[in-house]
Symmetry: C2
Subunit: 394 residues, 2 copies
């Protein structure tokens, strides 16, 4: 039964495009086996099922585009004759991969946050080890045509986060994605250093120029997709794939992105899931940072510049606040305004009397005497025979 | 009477350091003439005055440090014998300058937003022309040791804002301040292109390396200070001066600042006045942008990258939203998800049938036909004898 349900999900994932709300609502309403029967036209859906699907779509806010189950069946029909889920599972097995479905040990629990948009299944090529929870997973995303700056920053962040035990999720593309995976593989303190979420089938590594990199990701981490083997990475699937990247991680960091960029789509998915969106700033002269600055300006994204600031956003316990990075207070921090005025008035070379200091500082002689005492204790002022001057570190 | 009040304010400004809350409350309670009398000890303040000063300090939140009027008189006493306000006014006149006080035509009305912290008077060296209201005034501030990046961005912003008729306020220092004044002088479409607010007396132009620049600022705009001629620019006065820069402008833009920087102090003044704080992003590898990124991260500052984005924040009427900068929508923007899927499925070279497209796209044949019609109208798809393919701009 459990195996039949797994195969039914695999079949449904071939029948439907990712995030087919009607199909996903149908699965939720009647389970994958009956959903497959209804989707292929072998079973007829009674009015009770139609009502339940309607209710689920309404909850999800997808009702506007709901033309009834019959219309959806027409949509799914052309692909029915190509269904062969056993063959898809066998294909994956040949590549050392597997099919995973909700409830499996490997199923990332954080995908449940997608609600109705949780994928039917995942095709998984890589280590047989679970993706850590969202708070230990960071998404690093950005443009394919990264600059030297973006590449260096991405590599550093991925390496540093990986060293701290975070899993780095990205999309396996050229540019920022590739540098994110590579940096994570180099850092590799976590058991799953990096995950590539693909828009097409994981039977082949796409794009071709990243084949070696993705092979390494599959060896040390995992390469996953919700579309079955053989699926082309279409634009629509890229957009849907982005929701998986956003859902897997607690923080989505956009390192470099143009004013219009797929990475911004991932950021919007993250935002709508209540995940943290962060952006790395860059030169205002770089078109490749314009998308990051747009995210910062529109208020959705947090400005991050190093590993510590990102780690703090993850919500993982034990992460220090980034303010720690500057522990040395200046010698004048914490002085009262009066003492600061007095310090300013103190000469550096020849000393000055209390009375003269009172005039220069605009303080009463009593206040000057008290202040000189405090500054003396702090090592900022010194006296010689009633004549005061500033000490070197003041 | 009016002239005596002006001179009393000038005298009080020499007696007290900037933002001496007790002194300012005293002036508000009894007017400058009696305040000067009490401050110098010529008049005694009755309990009614003490009560009113207490109430004003309490409203201002400065009560914690209030040791009573007698203590303040002791503080002011050492400077009493040096008072010579007529001489100060005469000194300014020799430099072609003047004293202005609240109520004068030249008095910038936006300084009233400082409440009790409004300065007693301003020493003014420059054009006899009012500083525009806050919504037409932008503060550009930042580090003295600016980088090439910060200098170029500051110059561009100051020039562009000045060309649009904004007045640029800054602090007359080396680095970002100097580039702000210089850019504004070059742009100069406003009658007062730029204002330098000094921490020391305006009888001399400080720092010496900016003397020529500040002379130009005084010729085309104004160089102003709340401290009287001859006052040294102490650290305390720099911090107080920053509140004037923040209060004059609707937006304070920090272009480049280190993690600890006086520019951040100006930003905090702006924030506490309810003014807009903006920061220019830069490389995460530049220590000179760390303060800007800190402002962006802590949520107080808006990320700005060009003149248009700053102008929009000013609240001046007629400023376009910065979204205008990219008016060209991509050819696929606004397509429904179904049409996007269909577009993805359309081959570029050899055509495809409706039935085949239905399988590839996962749509019913009817939906494919309707979608092809829409894509055809948009010029994204074309058919030849029932065979459909994508058109070039798709």
């Amino acid at each position: 039964m459990r195996e039949r349900e797994r195969l039914a999900r695999a079949a449904l994932a071939r029948l439907m495009e990712p995030q087919d709300s009607v199909g996903l609502a149908l699965v939720q309403a009647v389970g994958p086996l009956d959903a497959l029967g209804i989707a292929t036209g072998e079973l007829s859906a009674g009015p009770a099922v139609e009502r339940e699907v309607t209710a689920l779509l309404s909850q999800d806010g997808s009702l506007a585009s709901w033309p009834g189950l019959v219309a959806s069946q027409r949509r799914w029909a052309p692909r029915v004759r190509d269904l062969a889920p056993e063959r898809d599972v066998e294909t994956m097995r040949r590549f050392g991969g597997r099919l995973i479905v909700p409830g499996d040990d490997l199923w990332p629990e954080q995908l449940a946050d997608l609600g109705l948009k949780e994928p039917l299944c995942l095709w998984w090529r890589g280590q047989e080890q679970a993706i850590p929870p969202a708070r230990e997973t960071i998404a690093l995303v950005g443009s394919r045509d990264s600059t030297g700056y973006g590449s260096a920053v991405t590599g550093d962040l991925a390496y540093g986060l990986s060293q701290r035990g975070y899993t780095i999720v990205s999309g396996g593309a050229y540019g920022i994605d590739a540098h994110a995976h590579r940096g994570a593989l180099n850092g590799a303190a976590a058991s799953m250093p990096t995950i590539a979420v693909m828009a097409g089938g994981v039977d082949r590594f796409y794009p071709a120029g990243n084949e070696d990199l993705l092979r390494s990701v599959a060896t040390q981490g995992a390469v996953i997709a919700e579309v079955p083997p053989g699926s082309a990475p279409t634009r629509y699937r890229f957009l849907q794939r982005n929701r998986l990247i956003a859902a897997l991680a607690s923080v989505t960091v956009v390192v470099e992105a143009r004013w219009r960029s797929g990475a911004l789509n991932t950021a919007h998915h993250a935002e709508s899931l209540g995940r943290v969106v962060a952006a790395v700033p860059g030169s205002v002269h770089s078109a490749n940072s314009a998308g990051c600055h747009r995210l910062l300006r529109d208020g959705g994204a947090v400005c991050v510049t190093d590993v510590g600031e990102i780690a703090e956003l993850s919500g993982r316990s034990g992460e220090a606040l980034p303010q720690d990075k500057e522990v040395h207070d200046g010698p004048h921090d914490g002085l009262s305004l009066e003492d600061l005025i007095l310090l300013d008035a103190l000469p550096i070379r020849s000393g000055s009397s209390v009375e003269k200091l009172a005039v220069v500082a605009g303080l009463s002689p009593d206040a000057v005497r008290a202040g000189l005492g405090r500054l003396g204790l702090l090592g900022l002022a010194a006296s010689e025979g009633g004549s005061w001057k500033r000490k070197k570190n003041g």
